[in-house]
Symmetry: C2
Subunit: 501 residues, 2 copies
């Protein structure tokens, strides 16, 4: 969930100074357009960890737009008027009317998250509340509201650093108290609860937008651009009666993402590779014969990656560690005729392994949010709702005991070119390279965006993504095997425990 | 929820014999059209209480359509293949492909309902499962499936009668066993659990269709007509990519409904009226001063009814029993400018009473599914989703301690005409009658349908409708006051208990 928000995104001061006047003018323009049309309200939720710059961002939005048409709503403990009514009453009261912008600093999410962290709310109560919230937000969207939910994230070290920085500056030192440091201690618990809350409420109609909070300039510009873009798009929508889809996901303004941050130069020498490979294959072979696995667990492996990233080679190394009767490799190409007449997830459901078995998917249901998104094989609304549907799907697998491990194999554009050429030159590899592969190469940037969105929106506690640096095949194969062994070991060890994931 | 399905709906044999050949021919036709187009699958769920004719209906559908393109799926205890996978796997496997009809006899609902009744599943587990189901069905509908969920209902006495009838007929006597009578004993619990399940899963995308199961001819014709109509409408939908709305609600084929069943001749003599009125006003006056009420409860009264049904008079009699500082009468007319720029429920949220207070709504949020539906002030999709939104809204009130009591005041068309004329003749009542009232009269039948749908879809355990026979004003006023007193007494007595409603 928070992968993209721990990269240390930053914008230098010059860029910031250059960008702001333009952004500001545009925001003001679009705000007046929204106001004049009076066709929809803009509901902006600003939430996130302490010290991630929520207040600063709200103040900036105020200074960038016309504050007379913005209302900011902060909620602390309910007043007695509020406590005497249904808990959503205070938020209903505060909804901005059509044409206006309402910024919720602390929203219907704050109380349940705090209550859960401090143990005042049981998990099932929390989940009931989250379903209420989902229905409430769906209603808002159906009624035409533009809903933007921001979550400002800080890594643990980022949060510490930020506290230090605030302390140093005499203008902000007062904001750091003992309580600030106390909250640092509950960092893990907050991440766990917030991760769960964000996943459950990351709906197609009102998805979360996660922003790294460390760098003021980056955070402010990002929020400004997203608000601007979403308002513009909504204004451009012709038929207002038509239920709008969620705002699109914009790439990070500093051009950095989970893929650009990978160190693709990592490699393994031949000798080390041979040793490691043997070691992890032996370990895997033992793990899948462990009675705790065969009697209560199953294994679902998902391999996705750039063309020519080496999925096949990795899959063969994994399969080699298992008995052929125990696993099934499921290569996913275009759907068959039988599959085309079913919901898109159907063809994956049918291949789910039973207890004690493994299924290795060579490409997978993620095609929906990768190739189908990019090639326009499905509508925007379709692939947007797919994130939640996929999370549900994997959640159901995990509930039934499956260990779900997902790999994205990444190579650089140069390495891909080298491999393509090599394949064309090598007789027996020629079938592996088609015109389509060359066409896909032209869509490199689109794929990068789609992959980053996919990782952010479907990396869940139960089924996280592992990004594999695959320029060096040896390095990639060992990382894949090692990851599988570690996840399996952890799962078997954890069995019987329950967690917030 | 089951109001319309306890009226003793029946169709005589002649009508049945006359109708079936036509229905059959049409069903077959439309089945082939669906098959040829191969654009969507038809998913039919047949569920309900024992002995309500599920099997018979499925057999009939088979004999009316081409059985080669129907699959029926019955589910009992999971096979070991099924038990080793996520619980939805067996249903995914069984989904009909586009162009075909799949009839689920026993569906994803059967197991959770049984588990809950027999105490194998906690309430919170059930609710989690129901949310899974809601998301699953939303996915099916988003993927284009036509989903028809039937629930066959029998009243308790109806179920007994049916068992006796089956026993009498030597061809069916074998079907009645000791277990059949045992299940009768859990009737109340089943109704409670089923009522909850049906309410939570009565979504705008896949609403329940409740059919009285007592009379074979009525039940079969009803299901046949609904299936036919829904398939026709879906075929007629031009843009298949557009997410379809739920199938429309057809009026009962025997013309009977909760309104036609009311005995409008009931009346109270003047003397009796005066006594009863005084008695219940005194009781109400005491109840709202009870510390259990003032410290923990609030009262939400909803008055809806035909024009000139006497809402105002009833409201005055209720208000007279309370201190003016304790209640607020909220007359609902067209939304104000301020209200028009908010979600439609906003103007009701703002008037919710705090603890210890009462709000009396003279017309209400039900305008959405009455006048707005009939006059086309909102789209079909809007009023269809409103049922669930309204149930949510009332649920949240009830959760916060509100006692929600809803009255529909019904008069006959003749009585309405008499009152209209009287108003025109009486100087000081003339303002009460407008051209619009006369226009509404012409839409009498449309209002009847809308009211029946409303009662069926929003009469929940926490906030049931009370239908008031209002041809005689005295009778109506006393029934209203008595109902309020009884609900209040029960609520104050029950406080602290928790139930499935």
């Amino acid at each position: 969930m928070f992968e993209s928000a721990e990269l240390g995104h930053a914008i230098d001061k010059e860029t910031f100074k250059r960008e702001v006047p333009k952004l500001r003018a545009e925001l003001l323009d679009v705000q007046y357009d929204v106001l004049q049309k009076r066709e929809f309200p803009v509901v902006i939720l600003i939430s996130g960890v302490d010290g991630s710059g929520k207040g600063e961002t709200i103040n900036l939005l105020y200074s960038w737009m016309d504050p007379r048409h913005i209302s900011t709503l902060a909620f602390s403990a309910p007043t007695d008027e509020e406590a005497a009514r249904p808990y959503m009453w205070r938020y209903w009261r505060a909804l901005p009317p059509k044409g206006k912008v309402g910024i919720f600093a602390g929203s219907w999410y704050s109380q349940p998250i705090a209550d859960r962290i401090e143990g005042r709310m049981r998990r099932s109560e929390l989940d009931d509340r989250l379903e209420d919230i989902n229905r409430f937000e769906a209603m808002l969207v159906n009624e035409g509201a533009l809903v933007l939910k921001f979550w400002f994230h800080l890594s643990e070290s980022g949060q510490k650093k930020r506290l230090k920085a605030l302390e140093k500056d005499p203008r902000t030192a007062w904001r750091v108290t003992k309580a600030s440091y106390d909250r640092l201690k509950t960092y893990d618990r907050l991440q766990q609860v917030a991760g769960h809350v964000l996943r459950v409420t990351n709906t197609a109609k009102a998805p979360w937008i996660i922003v790294e909070g460390t760098d003021d300039a980056y955070r402010s510009l990002t929020v400004g651009h997203i608000v601007l873009d979403a308002m513009k798009r909504r204004l451009a929508q012709k038929d207002m009666a038509q239920v709008p889809v969620a705002p699109p996901i914009l790439p990070a303004i500093d051009g950095r993402n989970v893929l650009t941050e990978l160190d693709l130069t990592q490699s393994l020498a031949k000798k080390v590779y041979a040793d490691e490979l043997a070691k992890y294959q032996a370990r895997l072979s033992e793990l899948v014969r462990d009675p705790r696995f065969t009697a209560g667990r199953s294994l679902v492996l998902v391999f996705e990656g750039s063309d020519a990233a080496g999925k096949g080679g990795s899959i063969r190394r994994v399969a080699a560690a298992m008995d052929a009767r125990q696993y099934q490799i499921v290569p996913i190409a275009s759907p068959t005729e039988e599959e085309r007449v079913q919901p898109y997830l159907w063809r994956f459901w049918r291949h789910l392994p039973r207890t004690g078995r493994a299924a290795i998917f060579d490409r997978s249901w993620y095609g929906r949010v990768l190739v189908e998104r990019i090639e326009g094989f499905c509508t925007e609304a379709d692939w947007l709702r797919a994130y939640a549907e996929i999370n549900d799907f994997e959640h159901q697998m995990a509930d039934a005991g499956a260990i779900v491990i997902k790999f994205w194999l990444q190579i650089s554009a140069e390495e891909q070119l080298r491999r393509f050429k090599e394949r064309e030159d090598t007789e027996f590899k020629r079938f592996k390279i088609t015109d389509e592969d060359w066409r896909n190469r032209e869509k490199w940037d689109q794929y990068v965006s789609a992959v980053c969105d996919m990782v952010d929106r479907t990396s869940t506690g139960l089924a996280p993504w592992t990004l594999v640096e695959a320029n060096d095949k040896n390095f990639a194969r060992v990382k894949v095997l090692k990851t599988i062994c570690e996840r399996l070991e952890k799962a078997l060890k954890d069995d019987g425990k329950n967690s917030e994931q």
